[in-house]
């Protein structure tokens, strides 16, 4: 069986414009949630988001012309991918590039570009819609631009799986390498949906927190006073590589990807199935595919959105599946500090799991003070902790009942 390892990471998040800065912020418990600056929120009941800050695409190697033609989600996707490749010190020959692909999930696509052009269409007519509107809007342009910038000529995949898109990006990438189709993949997710339409849509679903006067406390996964999620933007990318390919060039190995789970709730458009049954089956499948038992798992990076439903049902799913071992697990939510990066979340959380394994450390779930009566997990309150991790899961549970789990393992030759 071909083995798959993580050899590079790159990120643009509300708490850092690189993977390293993001990781350091998470360990320090820094929040990226603040008042929305992208648009006027006067008529919005939720006025907070995890926006990417002080980001300059020219500093990140994109030209002025690139920046004009691209939607924000595409800029995040490209810059995070370039960082991951640089981190991996990856230099491929032309023939190797034919066996290198891109699998990057996106939930919305270029929704801001679509909104702006809709405005032009309605006020000035069809002749004023930008010729770049389509390539700014369609989600697969995220991975497409990455392939163009890197010259990767293998598969190009863009799973659209709501809040699990980034996780499905990693799952597809893992499978391409394991099946022998490719040796190298850029894997992850990208999103930039902190826009009037994006926020209004979630707001009217009653999915968002309204804790506007306490931005840094608004995202509080698993805490009994949680009241919804905080929308956020950015990208998270990994370089996945076939083990021998990585070892031959002396690459640094963060962690090994050993399996995945992927299920549907087949239940409701937004509510999780009772007791998080779909998420539980996804974790169960992930353990089976990885050839491990519940007792082998040390850490779960939860979906943990800070909505009443998700966090209750995800907790039940973990407790139901892991039984007595559940109390030994560290369970944290990256969203407690970066907010919910939607299609990008699974990419960022996968690289957080890889870094947690590499450093044998877990970040805290910020703002977790007290759970509900039937919550019995260790959510890592109060600060980052050292923790021995051999196996870890990254959970993603999206609207539509789409569930994805990635399993990573501490690398041992």
């Amino acid at each position: 069986m071909r083995r798959v390892v993580v050899t590079g990471v790159g990120a643009v998040t509300p708490v850092g414009n690189s993977a390293e800065e993001t990781w350091e912020s998470l360990l320090a418990g820094k929040s990226g949630i603040a008042a929305i600056t992208h648009f006027d929120t006067e008529k919005f009941s939720t006025k907070l988001a995890g926006e990417v800050k002080n980001f300059d695409s020219e500093d990140k190697g994109l030209s002025k012309k690139d920046a004009k033609r691209l939607d924000r989600f595409e800029i995040f996707a490209i810059t995070a991918a370039l960082e991951a490749v640089a981190d991996a010190k990856l230099e491929l020959s032309e023939s190797e590039k034919e066996r290198a692909g891109v699998s990057v999930g996106v939930g919305f696509g270029g929704i801001r570009s679509f909104e702006d052009n809709t405005d032009l269409l309605l006020t000035k007519g069809p002749r004023r819609v930008s010729p770049f509107m389509v390539t700014q809007m369609i989600p697969n342009m995220g991975p497409a631009y990455i392939s163009m910038h890197l010259g990767f000529k293998g598969p190009q995949s863009c799973p659209v799986a709501a809040c699990a898109s980034g996780t499905y990006g990693v799952i597809d990438a893992f499978r391409y390498i394991r099946e022998g189709v490719t040796d190298v993949m850029i894997a992850g997710g990208a999103e930039a949906a902190v826009t009037p339409m994006g926020v209004a849509g979630f707001m009217n679903m009653r999915a968002l927190s309204k804790r506007n006067d306490e931005p840094e406390k608004a995202s509080r996964p698993f805490d009994k006073d949680r009241d919804g999620f905080i929308p956020a933007e950015g990208a998270g990318m990994l370089v996945l590589e076939e083990l021998e390919h990585a070892q031959k060039r002396g690459a640094k190995i963060y962690a090994e990807v050993v399996g995945y789970g992927a299920t549907s709730d087949a239940h409701h458009i937004t509510q999780p199935a009772p007791r998080g049954e779909g998420g539980r089956r996804a974790m169960e499948m992930a353990l089976r595919v990885s050839g491990i038992t519940p007792e082998d798992v040390d850490y779960i990076n939860a979906h943990g959105t800070s909505t009443p439903f998700n966090d209750r049902f995800e907790t039940m799913a973990i407790q139901d599946l892991f039984g007595d071992h559940a109390k030994n697990l560290k369970v944290n939510s990256t969203k407690s500090m970066v907010g919910h990066m939607l299609g990008a979340a699974g990419g960022v959380e996968a690289l957080v799991v890889a870094l947690s394994i590499y450093h044998q450390k877990v970040h805290q779930t910020a703002n977790f003070e007290e759970g509900e009566e039937e919550f019995h997990l260790d959510y890592v309150a109060g600060g980052a902790q050292s923790h021995p991790i051999k196996y870890a899961l990254s959970n993603s549970l999206g609207f539509g009942g789409v569930n994805g789990v990635v399993v990573m393992k501490k690398f041992e030759d």
Binding site: S63, K64, K65, K68, R69, R127, R128, S130, P131, F132, T135
Partner: protein, 78 residues
Amino acid sequence: MERNEIFNKVVELAVDKLSAEKAEIKEETNFIEDLNADSLDVVDFVMALEGEFDMEIPEDDVEKIKTVKDAVDYIVNK
């Protein structure tokens, strides 16, 4: 509008839409060959001309606008 004034406006739009340097733009500058524009850039640029000069440029005419001079002449003759 004076020809010179139109020229300056066209240069301004080329700088904005095609991310060109103002100093490198001459009458004979070809958008595709000299400024690395692709067909979509040219459409975007022509749309900006339409907005700036309040006119419609039919698709068949777009193909004739290859240089700064072509653009200026087209506007002058309209």
